[in-house]
């Protein structure tokens, strides 16, 4: 009986604490919970276009949010296509060309490997809390789970998406869904996260679904398998030389 009272009290306190949280505090907590120092994973990319699903596989390494390396392994025509991201720059290596090309300017808007992800989406690495003014605008239920809804507005003009709307799970402190908006207020993309797994103290989404709302009947799902977190990643992986290796 006493314990029940205690837990009730705890829950009550918790609720008060939660409501007292500001939007940026919530996001900070999400970051602590999900931003890993380094990772290695095998991923399946399912691109659905007008009812047909194409499947691609790649394996990737990432250190923080700033460095990433990806290499496609399936299907045969994409095999050996590699991507390297260092801070704000990105290169693509295609075996047929045997030379890395920098992805810059308006190429960044384009779709990566025919998916709903643009290169811009992959390149994103700055902390949202430093780019956006964050406001907690309410709560919502998503897939039966209670969520905070955060409204993000750009602090400075130099951001990809002028505003965002975030759904953060109240219990797990992970973002469940993000809506990305153009400056004019038009919804451009919807990202949802699912299949969260507890790995080494992090709560890690292993299913990411991206929908380009300007196209019809398309979405791209990323399924992460064999995820390893906080591992030793040799620095040589994140070099042009490694990207262009034979």
């Amino acid at each position: 009986m006493k314990t029940t009272k205690m837990s009730l009290l705890m829950m009550f306190l918790g609720a008060i604490c939660a409501s007292a949280q500001t939007g940026s505090e919530i996001l900070e907590r999400v970051d602590r919970n999900t931003v890993v120092t380094s990772s290695h994973y095998d991923a399946i990319m399912k691109i659905s276009l007008g009812g047909t699903i194409r499947e691609k596989r790649f394996t990737g390494y990432a250190v923080g949010k700033s460095r990433a390396y990806m290499e496609f392994t399936y299907p045969a025509r994409d095999k050996g296509t590699r991507f390297l991201k260092i801070d704000d720059e990105m290169w693509i290596y295609m075996p047929a060309i045997e030379k890395a090309t920098k992805i810059a300017g308006h190429m960044l808007r384009q779709s990566m490997m025919g998916s709903d992800f643009s290169y811009d989406d992959i390149l994103e690495n700055e902390k949202l809390t430093s780019l956006y003014d964050i406001e907690l605008i309410g709560t919502d239920t998503l897939d039966g789970r209670a969520c905070f809804v955060l409204q993000l507005k750009a602090k400075a003009p130099e951001v990809n998406y002028y505003s965002r709307k975030l759904w953060v799970d109240k219990e797990m402190y992970v973002s469940m869904k993000v809506e990305l908006y153009a400056k004019s207020g038009k919804l451009l993309k919807e990202v949802s996260m699912g299949e969260f797994r507890r790995i080494d103290g992090y709560t890690f989404p292993t299913l990411i679904r991206m929908v380009n709302t300007l196209r019809k009947d398309t979405y791209t799902e990323l399924l992460l398998e064999e995820v390893e977190l906080d591992i030793e990643t040799p620095d040589r992986i994140f070099t042009r030389a490694y990207l262009e290796r034979k």
């Binding site: 300017g105 308006h106 808007r109 384009q110 750009a154 003009p157 130099e158 951001v159 990809n160 998406y161 002028y162 990305l180 153009a182 400056k183 004019s184 038009k186 451009l188 380009n212 300007l214 196209r215 019809k216 009947d217």
Partner: protein, 408 residues
Amino acid sequence: MKLLNIAWRNVFRHTRRTIITAAAISVGLSSMIFMNTMMNGADKMASRNIIDFETSHLEVFAKDYYREEGVFPLDTIIENPRYIADGIKDIPGIKGITPRVKFQASISNGIDELPVLGMGIDIENDRRIFETGNSVVAGRYLQNSGDVLIGTDLANDMSLEVGSYITIITKDRNGTYNAFDLEVAGLLNTGHPLFDRNMAVIPIAQAQELLAIEEGVTEMCIRAIDEETLGPLKEKVSEEIGAQYEVFTWKEMNAAIFEISGFKRAGQFMIGLVVVIIAAVGIINTMLMAVMERIPEIGTLKAMGFTNSRIVRMFIYEGGIIGAFGSALGCLIGLLISIYLVHVGLDFSGLFENVDIVYPMKFIIKGEIDYVNMLYVFLFGILVSVIVTLWPVRKATKLEPVDALRHV
């Protein structure tokens, strides 16, 4: 005079031979004229498309804006277009000035997304110096914010029609995504592939808002009254607006295309040469036959006291007369073909349907007649006929009259 008479009569004594020889010449020459008409037509169409839709005669950019073809940076633009317009409006020789904003974008019809070149135009001014406003084949020209004009080919590709809604997406000057919903106000059919299959034209204020460039524009287009003397006008404009801007003529900006053109001219010359050689071989052949046949005749003439030089001259006259007939016929046929080409044109579109071509025109080529060239072709025909007659005749006149008479 007597020789010319004899030559004249000789030409008509052998009607069939004359007709065959003249026909050989005329076929060669009419092909040369045909080639020339087509090439001129293609060049003229390309130039017109560039001037009437793309650049007008002169374009002003902010310094370092124009780095390479097909790149439209937003970091070096003309921030204050009014300054330029006011500065140069009193320069004599300028017919009109209009600002434009070019930017890379995508458009979406709700199903697919396609990359396009976006262009913001000054609704009133633009139609004073460009033909874009006169090329609306369905719907209407731009009127309000939210209107967009797209090419007929692009409309087909994306199954759009007048009244359809599209979304235009781009990144503004700061790299932030921006998108607007637009209504297709009209369809353009310009004959310029860039406009017809790859362009979304919107009011300039909307482009400026979309790109967060305030009053800025990417270029100022200037139409001259006299299109032949752009050099001095360019100097004057350049002087007036100062060193933070650059001025280019339409030819300078399309150097690449005119290089292709130069290359094409070389190609045309080679084809022309082959045509000439074929024609010349035909002429030599028939002339050679004509002379060989008449070796006994040459013997007779020599026996009657004709000097070699008179015989040669007589044959030159004959060659010249046949050449003149052939050339006249060739020019006439060439002219008729050219007139057809000028009015109807040749449709190459099937050949290039899915090929992206940088040359700014569609592949229904209309001809353009060059009369001076036709005169040269005419003279060339006569000259070749005369020259190729010389060799067999000189050889024949070297024979002794007796041998010549015995020759079969």
